[in-house]
Symmetry: D2
Subunit: 415 residues, 4 copies
């Protein structure tokens, strides 16, 4: 397997798939068109394909003799972001969000790249089947962004219907230089808690604030105060993020509305920090409502939730050794724990087997180097979920394919 690789025309064809997926993103749970395209491609490669697993999930199985079963996972949902990359294949797609509102949709988290890499890897594994033996269980998972897709596939009998794997493998594209792969053993991706918070004031004419309890001011004070959870209440040596990703109140300049809605995203790595952050958020929201004289308590609705993703030490060691052998020492780094979250851990947890999930770079290496030289990497290289996020197709694509095949055959390889 070691030296097996796709040729130029094959990569060009996959780049076409990538651009097509990128131009046609679908929101979590509504990935019908994407699922159909995946199924068509994977079936054509010779895999036994099942659709509709846990909603719109797609499973492809290739049995190739004795040996372990390796689960390879790619997620494929898009996000409610208006794309601003200016690319020829930029999305103009529109979706309907859970509140029934039309929103722009974008592959702002690179799941289109995950799918393309896995399709490419599945092709290579077919072609190189003499070099390995065992079973490839390709899992194309929907609804990762809402933290529900992996659990839904498991609940829909994934392991009962397609067999229990020996290891769960997968990867995520990240704003590191393309060509790089990053693995971290132990807790590697943070836990997430998402909340919708409604704060209640009292509406009135914009010219008569004394008749109102202004929820815009209430929400603004809350957003500022919430910053102190991270800056004052959690030790600087711990990891915690509190993001108010959306804030909506009012319809018109001259009407003080009756309420405001905040959507809050929380990251943590330990149960203690998670509990302290959640308690701090609730305490502050309630107190800021009281500061405004709100007559009704705020309303908290939990949204998505992800546990910490823990990478198995032995699995990471095996994967790292294979990657270093294939890509060279300098292309394989340990990025440490990151604040991103992933529901891929649900597969390993449900199956009771190790997970090894890694990052691979998608940033133009030249652009990354310029930003690094200027000391501003974080803000100059578009991050996942940015309207400007778009991996460079190469060498991102070939690196992602190589990484998947390399790590898979670290389990499946004959030698």
């Amino acid at each position: 397997m070691g030296e097996l690789a796709l040729d130029g025309p094959e990569l060009a064809e996959l780049a076409g798939l990538y651009r097509e997926l990128h131009a046609n993103p679908e929101l979590s749970g509504a990935e019908h068109r994407t699922a159909a395209e995946i199924a068509r491609r994977v079936e054509k490669l010779g895999y036994q394909v099942t659709t509709g697993v846990g909603g719109t999930g797609v499973v492809g199985v290739l049995r190739n003799g004795e040996g372990p079963t390796v689960l390879l996972r790619a997620d494929f949902d898009g996000l409610p972001v208006r794309e601003e990359t200016g690319l020829p294949y930029a999305s103009t797609a529109v979706g309907v969000d859970p509140d029934g509102k039309e929103v722009p949709v974008m592959h702002a988290c690179g799941h289109d790249m995950h799918v393309t890499c896995l399709v490419g890897a599945l092709g290579l594994l077919v072609r190189g089947r003499k070099a390995w033996s065992g079973t490839v269980l390709a899992v194309f998972q929907p609804a990762e962004e809402t933290g529900t897709g992996a659990l839904a596939m498991v609940a829909d009998g994934l392991f009962e219907r397609f067999g229990r794997p020996d290891v769960v493998l997968g990867q995520h594209v990240a704003p590191y230089p393309a060509g790089m792969v990053g693995l971290h053993a132990g807790p590697a991706f943070a836990a997430t808690d998402a909340l919708r918070i409604r704060m209640f004031g009292k509406g009135a004419h914009g010219s008569r604030p004394e008749s109102a309890i202004d929820p815009v001011v209430m929400a603004a004070a809350t957003v500022l105060r919430l910053q102190t959870v991270v800056s004052r209440e959690i030790a600087a040596t711990e990891t915690a993020v509190v993001t108010v990703g959306s804030l909506h109140a009012g319809t018109k300049d001259n009407i003080i509305p009756a309420e405001a809605e905040l959507r809050v995203n929380i990251r943590s790595y330990t149960p203690e920090v998670r509990a302290a952050v959640l308690a701090g958020v609730e305490r502050i929201v309630r107190a800021e409502a009281a500061a405004s004289g709100a007559v009704r308590e705020p309303e908290f609705t939990p949204l998505d939730s992800f546990p910490v993703l823990v990478n198995d030490h032995a699995a990471v060691d095996r994967a790292r050794a294979a990657l270093v052998a294939r890509l060279g020492e300098r292309s394989v780094v340990d990025p440490g724990p990151v604040t991103g979250s992933e529901d891929v851990g649900a597969f390993g947890a449900a199956a009771g087997v190790p997970t090894c999930y890694w990052l691979f770079g998608g940033a133009d290496p030249a652009e990354y180097a310029r930003a690094e030289a200027a000391g501003r990497v974080a803000q100059d290289v578009p991050s996942n979920h940015s309207p400007h996020f778009a991996p460079v197709i190469e060498p991102t694509l070939s690196t992602g394919i190589t990484a998947l095949v390399t790590v898979a055959t670290a389990w499946l390889g004959r030698d």
Copy 2:
């Protein structure tokens, strides 16, 4: 005219019109159904009716011999507010706002009551035509909430086509006890400036704020800082209001959006205060963008704008005398200048004639008295633009009709 009044069945019929209007509000500029209903009613009373004046405006003329021309004005647009009155005739109407978004619509400012009172008054004036002589010019004006309707009717040749009045009269329902009328001579309604402000950050994944410039935090800090324009920069003895009526940013908890939009409403009474407030708002918005490290300056778009409405001293004196004679001393008060705005002044200004515009109460007197006893009038009686705003039909309706007829005949009366 003095003692002329509508009887019970007539008032009941008008109450029906009011409830029908209330249940079917339309947004500024889109008041087609309402305009048609007005035209139908006023024509039936015997007025010469013209529709489509300045958009959806309706003009009714009744010439009744020699004498002055009195312009009686009522506005008839609704607001993008979701009604929460729980009334049997509450609105469930939906409209399309200037951004093309569907929004709930409500008569949250009592324009439905203005229309009903004027229709009632026009009927009484027809019936009592022997007691007065001159011309009644009934002006049903659309798009008051956006400050554009009066100017549009003037620009569409209102005075050239229907004659120049000697005085402009009109009234607004307010959260005072029903049965009361309030007049103030001189500057009586504030100037308004409305702004849309876009603040630009940088989008990123919600878990990586260091890659973003967070526009939610930027906007929140701006809202809080804007409070200091009124609290610190304008003398407490002057009148100024700065309301952020709407604040919108983001689509999802785990995406830091790229921008935030604020809609700001400003009230003032003097050019100096107006200039100081506008300068303060701009200074703060720019500085808060800078505090966040925004790479792009905020964008300011002026929206509606209303000048100060100045009531003519002599006209107010004449109107007050007539109202006191009809309603009694205790029912006619001077509320002082209010922070509400009105574009009715555009008629008088364009025609070069005096304006007399007054308030009439719409609050349940018993409820008002309870709130007053508890020392909490401002917050306990729903104000205009509140989702709970709804005048009690009586005695609001009969007081409004009486007030219009009384003041009109103070100019038109034969004696």
Copy 3:
């Protein structure tokens, strides 16, 4: 009396007194040196002088036949401000504040000018005694800044010992152009409430905020939120001021302190507004403590308090007529109600007689005109209590003397 005036050398001598007083300010209740100097001067003029009235108060009496008794009041305490005027006679004085701390002292409110004008007026009244008859009761009052001096003189038997006046007269220098006098009938100076607020956190090492409850953040959030009392909770047509005049917390950058202290000054004109502001301040302070997770409730200590000063309508009419006759129509204005407070009202209230208290300008007229032309009067002309506040000696001094004599003889004059 009408044309009686001081000549150049006399004014020069009084200017010397003013500079001496300005250079030697004393804090409220500690005005020993100033009181002695006043007593010496007034005695020399021929008045019967009593010292030590209500602490350091000084009373001078001149009985000049039949007729009314006119109380002329000047206050004479300084403030804990470090003077930054750069004047040759600037203060470098130091005093001891109520907490026992050494503080710089400055005549930053013009009480030195009040004393000098009254001394000048007393001299003129002696010289012109043939033109009037009655009694002059000169009251030099200490401790105005703390709102305690007038009450203390009354409590010390002022009226029992020196007779009940028929009217209470006085004046305050203000940042209007020198040469101007301003009177307003009715409520003219605001009520004041001053509070000391202690907010309790939990101290810790500056590097370990998670071990602290940070009172600096708690106090900062409170200060910002307090701005909303005026901007959101009080009608813009009412008058209210909430100033946090001092905020102190901590000793060193790397120690998070255990508490913060705020001193808050509140102005209002009506009992309703006063109650609403006080309730709003308390609600916000308690809620912000809760937002920080404070384990101990904040502590509120009332400091100074002044009622609204109401000028008698008839007395103001009489005074205005006399001033217009003497200074000309253009030099006498109605400034409307101001947000300053004064305890002079305690004299009239205790004696049950009318009060007439006016403002006189102290700003360089040329500088004022420049600021007015630039549209920035409020911020460009140093206000009372500013470290840059210093009336121009002339024409402030001669206008103040003329005003006192003119108004006094409007009661005392023979014709």
Copy 4:
């Protein structure tokens, strides 16, 4: 040496020294009485003592044959904190801060315990001199809290006069359970930057905010906005602290002051984070001044500064092995990097030799366990710099002495 320990009366005598030091703290640079007491004690033990090294520093030397030189360091300055422990030996001392102001002083960082432990260890080393050979260089360092004492001793010829050590050893008491020792190899204590920031407004009367530029509001908005440096601008996986330890503005409730002073303490571990935090702080302070319309730029004065303290890996390994052998596995932990700072690194850096600096617990183990069970360790156990910080004397003292002797003899021991 292994089993050598102090007996009960000896420990009681040292506890007396500790209480005496605790009751008599002195501010950085003014530790005259403390230095004299140290010199007296160490001389009495038989060390060759030099005082006045780098200000008030004290050096004790014991040459005991061939072998390495081990520098043992204890710092001995107190802090401007008002002690609130309620202990019988609580401090009531007063000092004069750099601004000439009298302030309360407290040993709120445990330097009294450091001194006592080192004096105890020096005694044991004398008694056990047969078990080791080499030189003990005892360095009692003043002015640690200001980050200047170590550099001053080096600059005063410490190594030229007393010889270059082979290793620098020392310890700090921390809010961990007494009996525990914590070591971390690599970067172990954070870099510190301290700033004094003056923000300039414009003073005015408290009732006339429109004449002022309010520095209290300006400073409050700045404090809140500074929270976003940590919460939004630095990756959650990095370590950064921004503390505003002191905020002072104003003298009286009714005077708006002309300026405010903030003292800010910053912690970081990498040059990139340090630069980003410093840039963020400056950007925000300048922007908030601009938001207030300040006419003068804020003034930034660097105060103390500490580099990152890096513990040598080999030295930590050697020390840990010795401590585990002496105290048992369970009493020796790796606390990871902490946000505290230390200038002890200046000795090793100047001498070009390894440093090994560890923490030892001072919290009552029972109290710590209770707090841990309640999930609130951080806030319930008083941290260094808290007015409630006070190590329990035992087993803190004997553990600290044992740790010093154990680690020192890991270098000096004969076997």
